[in-house]
């Protein structure tokens, strides 16, 4: 059942068996996977994701697919890239992939990031797995002629990712870490207030940390700055059918409502989710 049936390119979402080009470690915790892909996969936009049928590890393959946000995609080169942390059965299986192996992937899926035409400079604040999800924003902003400052947070300097990628697309990068306490919420707040004062935060983007989401929500409200957040949640179908991946959101009537991360997101308005 890992073969692809009735693949059809005129549907906006497709299951495809993609050939692995490279799958190398980038640091002690993360690997960078590049697969050869066709349309519609290569038309993925920042913030969207693929649902991956992960190969077996330790003799057993996960029954369900695993959602994975896109790290990069290149239509001309015909490839899609992922940056993932090896944590559970799914990502342990991904880690076994070698060049030439096949990866069954479904996508592109979900709603991605968007840039308003009035924005001149955005602030991107990410941590952990969120750094991979936010990375393609760098290219998106560059193509739109929008400047970006990325505040990239990690436990230690050797675990910070996407620094070169953001810089290559013209973004300013500030690295903050737990090891020197620069990642404290107070310091990140100071950095963001400084950006806002210098008109370099027309919008706020975040992924990967509940503390950072709450900070950005508070600053966004106080300073009148809009923004977007990419969420994660365990998924079943990834097509809005099974209602496995719901999270709590502020509803228009002042209450709390469920929304599906796969279908209504994974990118939401910064102020809407109750937590990351």
């Amino acid at each position: 059942m890992d073969t692809v049936h009735a693949a059809n390119s005129f549907f906006p979402v497709a299951e495809q068996s993609a050939a692995v080009m490279t799958n190398a470690a980038v640091n002690p915790e993360y690997k960078h996977l590049v697969v050869a892909a066709d349309a519609p996969a290569v038309d993925v936009v920042a913030g969207q994701f693929f649902h991956l049928l992960c190969p077996p590890s330790d003799g057993a393959a996960p029954f369900l697919r695993r959602p994975m946000s896109v790290y990069a995609a290149d239509r001309a080169r015909g490839c899609v890239e992922f940056l993932y942390k090896v944590t559970g059965a799914g990502t342990r299986g991904l880690a076994t992939l070698a060049p030439g192996d096949r990866l069954n992937m479904l996508g592109p899926l979900g709603r991605g990031f968007t840039l308003a035409p009035t924005w001149r400079h955005i602030a991107v604040v990410g941590r952990g797995v969120g750094l991979a999800t936010l990375a393609p924003l760098a290219l998106m902003a560059e193509r739109a002629g929008v400047g970006a400052t990325a505040i990239l947070s990690a436990r230690r300097p050797d675990l910070v990712m996407s620094v070169e990628l953001f810089r290559a697309h013209g973004a300013d990068v500030v690295v903050v870490t737990d090891s020197d306490h620069s990642s404290d919420v107070g310091n990140v707040e100071r950095l963001l207030r400084d950006l806002a004062t210098r008109h370099k935060a027309d919008a706020l983007f975040t992924c990967g940390s509940n503390r950072l989401l709450l900070l950005l929500q508070r600053l966004g409200k106080e300073l009148g700055i809009s923004g977007q957040v990419a969420l994660e949640q365990q998924m079943g179908c990834a097509l809005g059918m099974c209602f496995c991946c719901v999270r709590d959101f502020h509803a228009a009537d002042g209450g709390v409502e469920h929304r599906r991360v796969c279908w209504d997101g994974p990118v939401f308005d910064l102020q809407e989710p109750l937590s990351w």
Binding site: M1, V4, H5, A6, A7, N8, F11, P12, V13, A14, E15, L53, A60, P62, F63, L64, R65, L106, Q233, Q234, G236, C237, L239, G240, M241, C242, F243, C244, V246, R247, E257, H258, W263
Partner: protein
């Protein structure tokens, strides 16, 4: 050329393959051609607005998954004004899955939902998450008889009744549905089950117990379809762990007229199309001109060669 059309439970379908309720929605139209399906079966609608169960709502198990989604529902108005119009652009008939906490509730909901665009009603009297301790109408013949009789009096639409596998004698429950006016029984829903995370000592579902589905349940539900087929004359829709044409053939041979594909769609969104294509290929290869000839064509142990030849000729 194989004739895949079937007459089932008051409907004529272009083929015997349809989605299982709760595993299907408009989002799948981004991946497959909806006009190829035998029918649509919608997610269960309730009168009241329901938010569903706490997360995590899904857990993987060997050869399948557990779910405790809890039937989130946006109510009847949303179904009629938002869900139904989406499906009008497609040709397959739509079967509305409904649920309610009481027999009266089932009856009034069936009457209310019988609007243009609904070809049949699937009464989900089986969902194990709905009531305390997972009890449901379809666990006993008495409760089934009561709710099906009320449903029959409330609607003239074809009435399909979805049974639970969580009962001691599913054949008696199927008889009760038939005796009180059901046009078909859907066999079956998920099997009440649980899983525990040994690192955290916590249940792996937010609501502790849930329903098991996927390939792991197929031999159990197949046996229940066989038992029901021997007990009732109304049509049976097989539903449990079907992911391939051969899986569907097993259900037809055991006595099902049609099949529903559910959990397989989560793993392979094209599973419904695969099952249709593989069923057609199976019939071609085995010389069956009409797929309806497969229903109940199970050979008893010790059948002789003449029987086999007769079955093959019957399809010519």
């Amino acid at each position: 050329m194989v004739d895949l059309a079937i007459d089932i439970g008051g409907l004529r379908l272009a083929n015997p393959v349809m989605p299982a309720s709760g595993t299907f929605a408009d989002g799948l139209a981004r991946v497959i051609d909806f006009n190829r399906l035998g029918a649509f079966v919608t997610k269960t609608v309730t009168r009241e607005l329901r938010t569903g169960n706490p997360t995590p709502r899904v857990a993987e198990t060997a050869g399948g998954m557990l779910n405790s989604i809890g039937i989130p529902s946006k109510g009847v108005d949303y179904f009629i004004n938002q869900t139904l119009p989406f499906y009008r652009r497609f040709t397959p008939p739509l079967i509305a899955s409904i649920s309610a906490p009481t027999a009266d509730g089932f009856a009034s909901l069936a009457a209310e939902i019988g609007v243009a665009g609904v070809a049949a009603i699937e009464a989900n009297i089986s969902c194990p998450n709905l009531e305390q301790d997972g009890r449901a109408f379809a666990m006993t013949p008495q409760a089934t008889a009561g709710v099906v009789a009320r449903l029959r009096a409330a609607t003239r639409l074809p009435l399909w009744v979805k049974l639970t596998p969580n009962t001691g004698d599913i054949a008696d429950v199927a008889r009760a549905a038939e005796a009180n006016g059901a046009d078909a029984v859907v066999v079956a829903n998920t099997i009440l089950a649980m899983a525990i995370d040994v690192e955290t000592f916590r249940p792996r579902l937010g609501s502790i117990t849930g329903g098991l589905s996927g390939p792991a349940v197929k031999p159990i539900i197949l046996r229940q379809v066989y038992q029901c087929a021997r007990a009732v004359k109304i049509d049976i829709v097989g539903c449990g762990g079907i992911a391939s044409g051969n899986d569907a053939v097993e259900y037809l041979l055991a006595g099902a007229r049609a099949v529903q594909v559910g959990t397989a769609t989560f793993v392979h969104p094209t599973a419904l199309i695969r099952v249709i294509d593989e069923l057609e290929a199976f019939c071609s290869r085995r010389g069956f001109a009409r797929i309806s000839a497969l229903t109940g064509a199970l050979m008893s142990a010790g059948a002789d060669e003449t029987d086999v030849e007769w079955r093959q000729e019957a399809g010519e």
